[in-house]
Symmetry: C2
Subunit: 358 residues, 2 copies
Amino acid sequence: MAVTMHDVAQRAGVSIKTVSNVVNGYPYIRPATRERVEAAIAELGYRVNVSARNLRTRRTGLVTLAVPELSLPYFAQLADAVMSAADAAGWTVLIEQTSASRERETEVLSGRRRHLTDGLIFSPLALGPDDIDLFTVDFPLVVLGERVFGAPADHVTMNNVAAAKAATLHLASLGRRRIAVVGAHAGQEVGSAALRTEGYRQGLAEAGLPYDPALVVEAGPWHRSTGAEAMARLLDAGVEVDAVFALNDALALGALHALHAHRVDVPGEVALMGFDDVDDARFAVPALSSVDPGRDQIAQTAVDLVLQRIGASGDPAPFRRVVPDSRIVGRESTGEDGSVVGVQPGGTELVAADLTVA
Amino acid sequence: MAVTMHDVAQRAGVSIKTVSNVVNGYPYIRPATRERVEAAIAELGYRVNVSARNLRTRRTGLVTLAVPELSLPYFAQLADAVMSAADAAGWTVLIEQTSASRERETEVLSGRRRHLTDGLIFSPLALGPDDIDLFTVDFPLVVLGERVFGAPADHVTMNNVAAAKAATLHLASLGRRRIAVVGAHAGQEVGSAALRTEGYRQGLAEAGLPYDPALVVEAGPWHRSTGAEAMARLLDAGVEVDAVFALNDALALGALHALHAHRVDVPGEVALMGFDDVDDARFAVPALSSVDPGRDQIAQTAVDLVLQRIGASGDPAPFRRVVPDSRIVGRESTGEDGSVVGVQPGGTELVAADLTVA
DNA sequence: TTGTAAGCGTTATCAT
DNA sequence: ATGATAACGCTTACAA
């Protein structure tokens, strides 16, 4: 049988309330009493029963982070950052994988595990604008990503258009004139592909470069393999290219392989820029230039927001849309040395105050 | 105020016990009663209070998985597999990152979060044979990896020596005679590097090839970058090589880059074999041959074992050491087509029965 | 097949 | 500054 507060109280010759006070750092305790209690705790090897505390306080101290897949480096690193931020605030993160399936994503919002934690940080990939009703929930929720805008919840997202525009302009500023984009999703109007492609177009326009459809390469799922295929297609088609903007780093790494295989020198003949700035980018050969969308800031902000909602009692604070600063990191693949060559400022926007968080 | 079983009972005109029975799938309930209760649950939107249940049953339904870092692809994929296996059994996984620090690894075994879950699957990297006392614990524990052998706990590990030997023999069977190994840790006697290097030596011996220290390349942390450096060192030294066995896939991927950079054809001039069979291996160009250490089986077994211990009441079952089968997957980097070219059978071993799991 | 009632180990209210 | 005591919502003997 486990040691309880009662046992400790008896041993220390105090009431159970006093033990509780000591355990929870209540300040007004006579030092002598505190010491006696602490000694008893140590002798008996007492540990608070988390379930009992949770029942009583109606809090679990846990927050869920729901992402598509941990094996995608971006999400693994995001999870890492979220856990660190939560840790620092004394909270614990429960990770949930959705495999980007509608069913699992719906379950995250209303399924069996919903009640295991006090709040949810959710990066949807299957659910989209049409599912916005599902996001109208009565618990602290922070939405990540660019699938769902306008849900009655806090939202942390990226500077997609501005960052993609800046990346394109950066390639132009290096003297590149035939800038291809890899990873477009034709016909799609929502999500990262659409936004980043739009940024690419704006960048071209501002640089005074023509928009050439032959330079826009589709790549369905944003994986290394599809990036390699897309790049090979572009090269095999004989299209003239002197720079490639891949819409994420997996695509860029795949493209890098294809360029190598075709004996195209990077950055000599073709400069290459990715997006996400995952660890792999730094370690690639040549090191990959990329857009850092502010992953750590996203994680920190998401944790701050969800904890604020959890802590908020009653007052329906307006929902916030937060966009961290993003940075362009120039490495070998664009002939640079690894320094930040551009910053796109983010910002915070207040949205509404419809929902009372219970 | 949240809906409780009491409310449901009232609404359905039954006792709280009956509601509990329905919720927990107790079979002997009159269908009519069950329907009434289910209707009430639906109308009221009732959900069980997990904390109350946990307090009463002394179970949380959670299992901790402690790994060094999610951003290492092997561990991200292991976490994925463990979560899936636990999911299938109706359990939830709480992931903990240790950053391979002694402090964090010690905390996992005895820290604040220990009591959040019913059991622990632990892959230590900092703690080693000298810390075996820390592993003598009174809760269900399954140890993973090759840092700690002989702890009073179940242990799931890999076929390191046999698999490395088979990989080496396989390269020899392809006609390679100058087989280098990348990732050795000189002077270390415990851990994956030592075991796999030993397998390499055994493989050479059995193939009748001489052991040449010039072909044994050190690489401290097993990252892509160190693999690239190590490979470059080997090539720059002008050592004759026609095959490379990298002790994990990150090293192999790094080596692949270096080989490309040196314009060495893979597999034409040099055949390359990794270890771990992470997703990246399949997507590399050329696709990387690797040793699949049975990751999914490791995950499944670890979950089975920890759940068995959690379920076991009193009887001190003997500790088991389980080694899954491992497979050699031959892909383009050894001139093959992606099929399994060798299986090293694992096995189970019973160890002792000292510890009574509470 | 269903109901009654006693805790599980905390925290919180209210005294003192 | 500390003590009694009543919940928190559920499971589980035991009864009926």
